[in-house]
Amino acid sequence: MRGSEQNQQDVVVQVTGLCKSFGDLHVLRDFTMDLRSGENVVVLGRSGSGKSVLIKCIIGLLQADSGSIRVLEREVLELDQHTLDALRVEVGFLFQSNALYDSMTVRENLEFPLRRHMASITEENRNERVRQALADVGLEHTVDMMPEELSGGMKKRIALARALILQPKIILYDEPTTGLDPITAREINELILQVQDRYHTASIIISHDMHCVRQTANRVIVLHEGRAHAAGSAAELSISSDPVVNSFFSET
């Protein structure tokens, strides 16, 4: 009983019966999952299966049709804008396209969330946070560069630094290795593990890259036809006889 309560307390994201449709296209149907403190959960699914829609619903960028999304014990679907903004400080988001502000330098990109949520900190403190976030991703020398001067892998790291700068408890990664070469993709995967290890963040990683799954996942959820079709560790799922699960794991 105590163990069950402990588990419940550890849950930082609880998605229950989530449904989301776009017109006649039912993307998520009764989707249920949870994320516990300090773990990496990879949501695996085919392109267009609704993986990105799921994390956009979790952060409140998309409004779910029905169901429940509890993040850090707050029901996202019932939050007003002010409370949702406050919750977003505790949830970092790494966009598939990186979404760096291309009219701002790397420093300005990183300072943007700081100036909004930690307006009272000193200039010195702000600079130190920027330096630390860039040091975490190994790109301190890019501080005054523009996003257009960076390679794809560097942009991904800077985007991760920006997601980390407010020291969130949860990070949502949207296809973190898509479009990167295998070496850079491996480096990003290692960075995800370093972030988990150093800051004890809980992460939901959206991916269809099996190397990313094997390298970063503590737990894998297979999203198929809008539902959580299967769940388990990568090792467990790789020996599954389920044809849907097998179609992912047999390729590598």
Binding site: V89, V91, F95, A99, L100
Partner: protein
Amino acid sequence: MFLFFLRFFQEIKRGKMEWAEWINQCFYIGNRTLLLVTTTGFIMGLVITIQSHPSMAAFGAESWLPSVVSVSLVREIVPVITALICAGKIGSGIGAEIGSMKVTEQIDAMEVSGTNPYNYLVVTRVLAAMFMVPLLVVFGDAIALYGAFLGVNMKQSVTFSLYTHQIFMKLTFSDVIPSIVKSFFFGFAIGIIGCFKGFATRNGTQGVGAAANSAVVMATFVVFIIDLVAAQLADIFSIT
């Protein structure tokens, strides 16, 4: 479009202004259009004077040239030309910038970092356009009147002090104020249409080009509509 328009006033009512971004946008608008407004204002002043001279001379009313030209420049030509320049430069710029931010998820990134993108992007740009377009019109008026002075001096010899005296004999506040008021609305239309088209961008980079293009076309059209309404209102309230 109506809801987008309505939200602008709701955000204004909330009163959370991003002043730093507003100043940036004012600078950006001024910086992008000043040279064009100067050049076109000067040329319009000069050309209108040169073209009006023969007709005025035929009636022996050359001495009226500064007054007649200044009224048409200040009331109609400079505000409309400046607004059209701003629709082209600023409207397309805003449409393309916000459209590009939309398709590259930068607006979503802003939202997840707890910033209201409408307040940060739309309110600042629209208010900057509402502030800068009237300023540019006043500046354009001054340049156009100087162009007209040179135009007058090409055919006759008039001192600058006599020229300004003749202008201000005819030009009154009822000429200047309506032109500034309508340029305020020109600025609003250019800003809100650019932002709306940017936010409505779909279909990737192709959509960004379409957003910039339709922002210019729609803003240009609305500038003429506002000008027509302003002329009618001025006529109704006898500000002629």
